[in-house]
């Protein structure tokens, strides 16, 4: 009793081979696409590595690159097999390889699915990495004279301008850190001294943000200082003012950007599972060869016997293989009595 048996005439077999050949080539193209997307993701993560702390998120693009290359190779081979399947003479060449090839591709499809799942699971890790990285970057914004941190000001400014975001979760993050270096503060002024004394750690905190938070679409020149003070500016109310600064936080902006890339990659990966039909073709042709007439109808199936029987036969094959490799020599089985007869 075969699983999912379908009848195949010669024309149907040929059509199936052609369709599978095309599908295999499409899969090669998607493999190349996957490789390119993995490379792109790696470059993008490296570009912003200053803002991602600690967590290892490189494993996702590395896996995608490897999967992309393997997909190309495997589907290229599959395409070649389909191309040769139509001609029974050439098919004989591939007959021995087809079964291991199909087993390999099933494992590979499984890996590919794992890769797709990883894309979506990276979301949580990425958010953590960005959270820690961005809060560090904001803290060291003022340290343009400390080697190793001197570029963070420029990085954060360009990030906020390019991604149209402000701060970690919002613009209020800037109120909680000192982003003006002490060497630009006049310590003799009363106002400065008051602010420094107003908190435990002696930080110069103010309700102002850097210029890179300014929203280009605002109809009004940008208000950066005394943001919470309505009376400091004419015709201004900070609760209802939305266009003055970028409202989005940079963590959310970067997360959306990377999630967008991931989703495109995940979708591409799920289209790669095209290999079920090859099994039909192989079984149909095997049956034909047994009957000896290449033009006749034949049956194609997924599994020759039912699932249980297939599992039992495979287990027996594995047992016999293991039995042969153990050092204890079994007695040779008795010769078949048909010879005597």
């Amino acid at each position: 009793m075969a699983v999912l048996k379908v009848k195949f005439t010669k024309t149907r077999r040929d059509k199936l081979a052609q369709v599978l050949w095309i599908l295999n080539w499409i899969s090669v193209v998607t493999g190349v696409l996957l490789f390119c997307l993995g490379l792109f993701l790696k470059v993008e993560i490296n570009k912003r590595e200053e803002l991602m702390a600690g967590r290892d998120v490189q494993y996702v693009p590395n896996m995608l690159i490897a999967v992309g290359l393997l997909a190309c190779a495997i589907n290229f081979l599959g395409g070649k097999i389909c191309y040769d399947c139509v001609d029974t003479n050439k098919f004989l060449r591939w007959k021995l390889i087809i079964l291991p090839y199909i087993i390999c591709t099933f494992f590979f499809t499984f890996c590919v699915l794992v890769g797709a799942v990883m894309c979506y699971s990276m979301h949580g890790e990425l958010e953590e990495a960005l959270n820690v990285g961005l809060s560090d970057a904001l803290k060291f914004y003022k340290d343009t004279d400390t080697p190793g941190r001197c570029f963070l000001k420029r990085t954060v400014d360009m990030l906020q301008i390019h991604f149209q975001c402000c701060g970690n979760s919002g613009y209020k993050d800037w109120f909680q850190i000192q982003w003006i270096s002490n060497r630009y503060l006049d310590m003799s002024q009363k106002e400065v001294v008051d602010r420094l004394r107003s908190n435990v750690e002696g930080k110069y905190l103010m309700d102002g943000v850097p210029f890179s938070c300014c929203n280009v679409n605002s109809p009004r020149p940008c208000i950066q200082q005394q943001i919470n003070n309505n009376s400091a500016h004419f015709n201004y109310e900070h609760q209802t003012e939305e266009l003055n600064l970028w409202m989005r936080g940079c963590r959310q902006a970067l997360l959306e950007y990377y999630t967008h890339i991931m989703q495109s990659i995940g979708l591409t990966v799920l289209i790669l599972s095209v290999l079920t039909g090859v099994r039909y073709l192989q079984t149909a042709l095997e049956n034909v060869l047994r009957q000896g007439d290449p033009d006749s109808e034949s049956d194609g199936w997924l599994l020759e016997n039912s699932l249980m029987e297939t599992a039992r036969t495979n287990l027996n094959i594995i047992k016999s293989l293991v039995g042969r490799t153990t050092p204890v020599n079994h007695k040779a089985p008795p010769t078949p009595s048909s010879e005597e007869r």
Binding site: T144, D145, C150, K153, R154, D157, M158, I161, W179, I180, S181, R183, Y184, L185, D186, P210, F211, S212, C214, V216, N217, P219, R220, P221, C222, Q224, H233, F234, N235
Partner: protein, 364 residues
């Protein structure tokens, strides 16, 4: 004869094959020139709001036209090549050859003109940008006036993208009121003083918009009271270089467009060279195949040349031909009338002669 070369059958075949490849290369070059024109036009459109007039658009327009025409012309050249070695199909192209040469030479001339034009129009571009940027800076505050409401966003994005400030430099912002009146508190003394301090009643200040700020500065951006050293700690207006962008936007944009046009210069020159070699090879092919056909032996050796006579003589010939064509166009109506009269007279005479012949025949 100019540049006479001998061509046997094999050389003719080789020439035809080589020319076929060359003309397809020229088709690709034509497509390249067209794409170049489209790209240049798009770049000019993107900044159209800060340009006053569109004279500079002549350069991409000509490039696009030449690109399209060259695709068609060189495709025809490849068809001529394919038919050149076939005696029955080549004669039908003979009529078009002169026209083809004229068109192809015109394309080369236009490409050379485009290269020269891109240098010549630099002055016009600069003028156009000067006026456009000045208007942009003047209307920066008018975000509530329809037709000008996007100027603020345009100028801000421009200054951030090209890393520039103002027209010539950041001091242009000191001469313009860039804060709108609806955000000014006219009850405050400072505002009233500033408004009264100049003839036009404008609110001028020594400050610049945030888009002039340089992210590479080690210090948080100073936008207001730029000329007042005492307003900021540890600040010297004359020596401070990194705080704002020091370049003017006009200079930045001119550099950008000139770089764009200069980098396409070598490409256009090589397209001109390819087109000229197509013209010359086709002329050689045409003359050698016609020579072979005249000898009525397709396998024979024939001569190929660029011009049948020397340059001066060909020029004289062409002049004479053009003059006769012009004269013929003038004389034709008179000649036609005269011809009609003479034809009518001749008929009458013939009629007179014929009638006695006619009457004699029935008698016999």
């Amino acid at each position: 004869m100019l540049l006479k070369l001998k061509f046997n059958q094999q050389r003719r075949v080789r020439l035809a094959q080589g020319l076929w490849l060359l003309s397809w290369t020229a088709v690709m070059c034509g497509a390249f020139v067209f794409c170049l024109g489209v790209y240049l036009k798009m770049e000019l459109f993107r900044r159209a709001e800060v340009m006053d007039d569109s004279d500079i658009h002549a350069v991409p327009n000509i490039l696009m036209m030449v690109g399209l025409a060259s695709i068609g012309t060189n495709w025809i050249a490849s068809r001529i090549c394919q038919d050149s070695l076939d005696e029955s199909r080549f004669p039908r192209w003979r009529v078009f050859m002169l026209a083809w040469f004229a068109v192809a030479t015109l394309l080369c001339v236009l490409l050379v003109a485009v290269v020269m034009l891109s240098y010549a129009l630099q002055g016009r571009l600069e003028e156009s940008l000067k006026v456009g940027l000045r208007n942009g800076i003047r209307f920066y505050k008018d975000t509530d006036v329809p037709g000008r409401c996007f100027q603020k966003e345009t100028i801000d994005r421009l200054q951030m993208e090209f890393r520039c400030c103002g027209n010539n430099n950041f001091k242009d912002w000191f001469e313009v009121q860039w804060v709108s009146n609806r955000y000014l508190d006219f009850t405050s003394k400072d505002v009233k003083d500033r408004v009264r301090s100049n003839v036009d009643g404008r609110y001028l200040l020594d400050g610049v918009p945030f888009s002039c700020c340089n992210p590479a500065s080690p210090r948080p951006c100073l936008q207001n009271q730029l000329t007042d050293n005492s307003a900021h700690f540890n600040y010297d207006y004359q020596t401070e270089e990194l705080n704002l962008y020091s370049r003017g936007c006009r200079e930045a944009l001119i550099n950008y467009y000139m770089e764009l046009m200069n980098s396409t210069g070598p490409g256009v020159l090589s397209v001109i060279l390819i087109q000229m070699s197509v013209i010359m090879s086709l002329r050689f092919l045409q003359t050698s195949v016609e020579g072979a056909m005249a000898l009525e032996d397709p396998e024979a050796e024939s001569e190929g040349f660029l011009l049948e006579k020397g340059v001066k003589e060909t020029f004289e010939d062409v002049k004479v031909k053009v003059l006769t064509m012009l004269k013929a166009a003038q004389i034709n109506p008179e000649a036609a009338a005269a011809a009609e009269e003479s034809c009518g007279g001749a008929d009458a005479e013939n009629g007179g002669e014929k009638t006695p012949v006619k009457t004699s025949t029935p008698a016999s």
